[in-house]
């Protein structure tokens, strides 16, 4: 009953790969956008803010469908990426990673932005009097001080990417071994007769992964906070 079948293992491995790649690729963009929103005033700032949060409030199917229109092989962006770089998103695991990354992006940006906003800017002034230019101030002061928020953002993004269903299945469908994640596999098993045991097994796996991610973030965030407050 608790033995996982090769198909289930495939779905688990694929889910982890998609979530990790989505988080890793989104992270630098997330940090950059969070910094812009926290520190800069510019034309269209509210618009950018809104665009980032949009996937959180839109029906996931809508986001998935928009991705299909733009990033499909014949879509405006999709055909360009294919012609120039040979990159294909439609019905590939990379497309699932793209959908997960976009859906999880607001959850990544928010805690990082909050931690940038909470940093005492006077520490950055102190760094400049000690000879640090803006790049090194960011690397040696801003980024380490924002670390607890960055960790929280990574975990939230990872967990969201792991569980994303609606946009992914709309954009890249539900192909075993290519785009069938844990969520999609559970959905499939609940639709076929006798699939309950398999669905339950994957439900347990999903719970374990989510709990592990939460615990990891708790431990890492506590360690980072302790580093900031002495010892």
């Amino acid at each position: 009953m608790f033995e996982l079948t090769p198909e289930e293992w495939t779905a688990i491995r694929l889910s982890l790969r998609i979530a990790i790649v989505a988080t890793a690729v989104a992270l630098p963009f997330g940090v950059a956008v969070a910094w812009l929103l926290a520190r800069k005033e510019f034309w269209g700032k509210s618009l950018l803010d809104g665009l980032i949060v949009l996937p959180l409030v839109l029906p996931p199917v809508v986001t998935g469908y928009l991705l299909l229109i733009w990033f499909g092989r014949r879509g405006a962006v999709g055909s360009f990426l294919y012609d120039v770089f040979g990159i294909v998103f439609a019905f590939r695991w990379t497309g699932a990673a793209l959908a997960c990354g976009i859906m999880a992006f607001p959850l990544l940006v928010r805690p990082i932005r909050l931690s940038f906003e909470a940093i005492d800017r006077r520490l950055e002034d102190a760094a400049s009097t000690l000879g640090a230019n803006s790049f090194w101030r960011f690397i040696t002061v801003t980024l380490p001080l924002a670390l607890p928020g960055i960790i929280a953002g990574i975990i939230l993004c990872f967990a969201k990417a792991l569980g994303e269903f609606g946009a992914t299945i709309t954009f890249v469908s539900n192909i075993p071994g290519e785009t069938q994640t844990i969520s999609a596999a559970i959905y499939t098993y609940t639709q076929v007769p006798g699939g309950d045991a398999a669905a339950l097994r994957l439900v347990l796996v999903a719970i374990v992964i989510a709990m592990a991610a939460l615990l990891a973030s708790e431990v890492l965030a506590r360690r980072a906070t302790r580093r900031l407050h002495g010892e």
Binding site: R122, A127, S128, T129, L130, L145
Partner: protein
């Protein structure tokens, strides 16, 4: 020689001062809101004046007419802030080393040993700022500013956040600094007694303007009583 001609409006304050000082320790004296901190921030390059000219030794740091504005990180001016502003995520040793790290200067263990000995901070080196007392923190902040080998040292109310006992703990280090290290200093305080002990030249500010300049004797008994 520090030569200043600075004009800057921030909120309620209209700062407009012009003076030259050979120091070595120039005291800025005046009540809160007189513009003392704004003036040191301008010297450090953290606040940009509306117009004027700042010359340190033979280098022009700022000149609005010639569009010269050397950024803070290239001025090599040490700054000891009222609240220390040590980096909380770095050990005391790394805080002390930060300036050298940023400027890419070679390692100088002799200088570190000298500064550490002068400020008695040897036992603190591996600790983090969160675990230091107020007095210890200010000593490390002074050490951090010295370790970057500044051409000028700015001290903005370095004792203000300390209780009287801690104040008398730090003062001897500052006097030692003046007598042994030989770096010119600008020392901001609204306590007359502090400036009488450390400053050679006192600039008295009020509401953004200089109302008197001279030796420590321009500080009166009334000034001493004001915050005693």
């Amino acid at each position: 020689m520090l030569s200043l001609d600075v004009h800057k409006e921030i909120g309620e304050l209209a700062l407009s001062v012009s003076f030259e000082s050979d120091g070595p320790v120039t005291g800025l004296f005046g009540p809160s809101g007189a513009g003392k901190s704004t003036l040191v921030n301008v010297i450090a390059g953290l606040t940009k004046p509306d117009k004027g000219r700042i010359v340190l030794g033979d280098e022009v740091l700022f000149d609005s007419r010639r569009s010269i504005d050397i950024p803070a990180h290239r001025r090599r001016i040490g700054y000891v802030f009222q609240e220390g502003r040590l980096f909380p995520h770095l050990s005391v040793r790394k805080n002390l080393d930060y300036g050298r790290w940023m400027t890419g200067a070679p390692d100088d263990p002799a200088e570190l040993a000298r500064v550490v000995a002068m400020l008695d901070i040897e036992p603190l080196l591996e600790r983090r700022p969160g675990k230091l007392s107020g007095g210890e923190r200010q000593r490390v902040a002074i050490g951090r500013a010295l370790m970057m080998k500044p051409r000028l040292l700015l001290l903005d109310e370095p004792l203000a956040s300390l209780d009287p006992a801690r104040k008398s703990e730090i003062m001897p280090y500052l006097v030692r600094l003046r007598d042994k290290v030989g770096i010119p200093m600008v020392y901001v305080s609204h306590y007359a007694r502090e400036l009488q002990r450390i400053a050679n030249v006192v600039v008295r500010l009020d509401a953004g303007r200089i109302i008197a300049i001279g030796g420590p004797e321009i500080l009166t008994r009334a000034d001493e009583a004001a915050f005693a």
